[in-house]
């Protein structure tokens, strides 16, 4: 492994892994406790609508994906609060509609399409240096927001009606949470691929949730676990020459299943 560190891409991957695990640990804790894992998968596919829009109107599709995901997240959060609809139904609808809009817009804009999805997906081994700064900014942004609105975020996730009565700006905090999730998903998806984002959002937080008794501890433990998974997954992938993303996910997955087994045996 030491020899692997001579390569820039490996060093970047390790660094990126550390940065990613912080964001995923924090956001993932909310995602798991507020039960919006599905949202992360959905945002990614809704982003496709943005790519279509970018193509159709002739601006950068990635920008479109970004804007569309955020808009979808905010819109969904508004509808959910207004209509009191089951959130997973709404998220499923968002997923399908986002993709459909994308497909139709791309249809309409004509021209030969390269595989547009490839704009959305990346690999941890191919993270450009600049993106590391972006990741750092994301981490700092998330940490700042969570630090500033920690008690409101907790209250909202725990008991929405009571939060309303306490005059917490529930709508805004909800939007903040969903936006933070969407931002993390869209940015990371581009860097490490969608499946890995979902894996890193859910599994470290779920494992740490089995042992941590408070949200703060859960976040810290989830971040540490995420970093461990990424490091050992990278190791494994280098050693066995297998796809890194899949290795990282498998390490996380095996640990998650093991933690479930352990929790049930004791």
């Amino acid at each position: 492994m030491i020899e692997a560190l001579q390569f820039d891409f490996m060093r970047n991957a390790l660094l990126a892994g550390l940065l990613i695990s912080v964001a995923c640990g924090i956001v993932g804790t909310f995602v798991v406790t507020k039960r919006i894992v599905f949202l992360s998968g959905s945002i990614a596919h809704a982003a496709y609508g943005g790519i279509g829009l970018g193509y159709f109107l002739g601006f950068n599709p990635l920008l479109g994906a970004f804007a569309f995901s955020l808009a979808a997240a905010v819109g969904m959060s508004a509808i959910q609060r207004r209509a009191r609809e089951r959130s997973d139904t709404l998220i499923g609808a968002l997923w399908a509609i986002g993709m459909a809009v994308g497909i139709i817009l791309i249809d309409l804009s004509g021209g030969y399409k390269a595989d547009l999805m490839s704009y959305l997906f990346g690999s941890i081994l191919m993270i450009p240096q600049e993106d590391l700064w972006l990741l750092l900014a994301l981490d700092l942004g998330i940490m700042l927001l969570v630090w500033l609105f920690y008690k409101e975020l907790v209250a909202l996730s725990f008991d929405e009606t009571f939060s309303t009565v306490q005059n917490i700006p529930v709508g805004k905090i909800h939007t903040l949470l969903v936006t933070m999730t969407a931002l993390t998903v869209v940015m990371m998806m581009r860097m490490v691929g969608l499946i890995m984002v979902i894996a890193l959002l859910t599994m470290p937080a779920a494992i740490s949730g089995q042992f941590a008794k408070s949200l703060k501890k859960m976040m810290v433990l989830a971040s540490i676990l995420g970093a461990l998974f990424i490091l050992s997954g990278l190791w494994l992938s280098y050693w066995l020459n297998l796809t890194s993303g899949a290795c990282i996910i498998l390490v996380a997955g095996v640990s998650y299943l093991a933690s479930l087994a352990i929790k049930n045996l004791i």
Binding site: A114, S118, W239
Partner: protein, 313 residues
């Protein structure tokens, strides 16, 4: 608490296991020139010219899906050390070449399509010319150029020269050898071109269908007419499918060439309606020469059948 300890134990044992594992041997250095390229047929071209003097890394396996595509560490190790990247202009490169360049900024990207004048990619709209109110398709398709330049022996000759030039400037000691190999390869290409031409001499002007319009240059070279099913990269819509079926019936299409990388459901649907054969032939096959010959044989046979049945001249 017991759980926490057990959990941590698990992770650490995993890490120690990995740490103690033997370091892999695949990353061993060789003193050969390392070059990278996008697709498998390029390996054939480079090998013909470099003849064991370079190590080649192909970045995209056929059928790679953007949702799951991820290069392996070994590929990136090679890429980090590569001196040249032979780009060919496939759409994949648009999304990934930048990222590859990030990994190895010293790598020289060689555009092997230099000097080739590409033709517009053919589309079903070329045949129907916007009679359906969807006129934009035609306009746009003029801007889109067909990237499948590795499927014409004549164009490969130009690419081969580009490859030789780049190899020579990156590795001047072996220039002589590269030039010699190029000469031999160009001759082979001429022979191949002749061979295919011979197979298809009696099928001039005949039409065949393809799912993905990969064989545009091939068709042009050998005087065939290719009708694609795919419309600008996506499966045809209902109306388009209906139109394609009418065309296929009118033109008495006898064969549809599909790609094994992609399921050919729409081809099967059309074949069912028209009653013709569906033959999968990959444009990305690694044994490039045999693959082109196979296509030549297949088309010759299918289209000859066709001509025999037709009574009109």
């Amino acid at each position: 608490m017991k759980g926490k300890v057990a959990g941590l134990f698990l992770f650490f044992s995993l890490i120690i296991f990995v740490l103690l594992s033997p370091i892999a041997g695949w990353a061993s250095q060789e003193e050969k020139l390392l070059v990278a390229a996008s697709i498998l047929p390029q390996r054939y071209f480079i090998e013909r010219i470099a003849d064991q003097k370079v190590q080649i890394e192909i970045m995209v396996p056929p059928g790679a899906n953007p949702a799951t595509y991820e290069p392996k560490p070994s590929q990136l190790v090679s890429l980090s050390r590569a001196s040249l990247y032979f780009a060919i202009g496939v759409p994949f490169e648009k999304a990934y070449l930048g990222r590859f360049f990030q990994i190895n900024k010293n790598m020289v990207v060689v555009d092997t399509s230099e000097g080739i004048s590409k033709i517009p990619i053919s589309s079903i709209h070329d045949l129907t010319n916007g009679e359906n109110g969807k006129s934009h398709g035609h306009e746009h398709s003029q801007g889109e150029l067909d990237p499948h330049i590795w499927l014409s022996p004549r164009l490969v000759k130009i690419q081969a020269q580009n490859i030789q030039r780049a190899l020579s400037s990156a590795d001047p000691q072996n220039t002589k050898s590269y030039q010699k190999n190029l000469k031999r390869f160009l001759k082979e290409l001429d022979e191949l071109d002749e061979e295919i031409r011979g197979k298809l001499s009696e099928t001039k002007g005949k039409k065949f269908m393809v799912f993905h319009p990969s064989w545009g240059y091939f068709a042009r070279d050998y005087g065939l007419d290719m009708i694609p099913i795919e419309v600008e990269g996506s499966e045809p819509s209902a109306a388009e499918l209906a139109k394609i079926i009418s065309i296929a019936q009118k033109e008495k299409i006898r064969i549809i060439i599909t790609q094994p990388e992609f399921p050919s459901r729409s081809a099967k649907v059309i074949a069912q309606e028209v009653g013709c054969r569906v033959v999968p032939i990959s444009p990305l096959a690694p044994n490039w020469r045999e693959n082109l010959l196979l296509l030549g044989d297949t088309l010759a046979e299918a289209l000859k059948d066709n001509s025999r049945e037709e009574t009109k001249p």
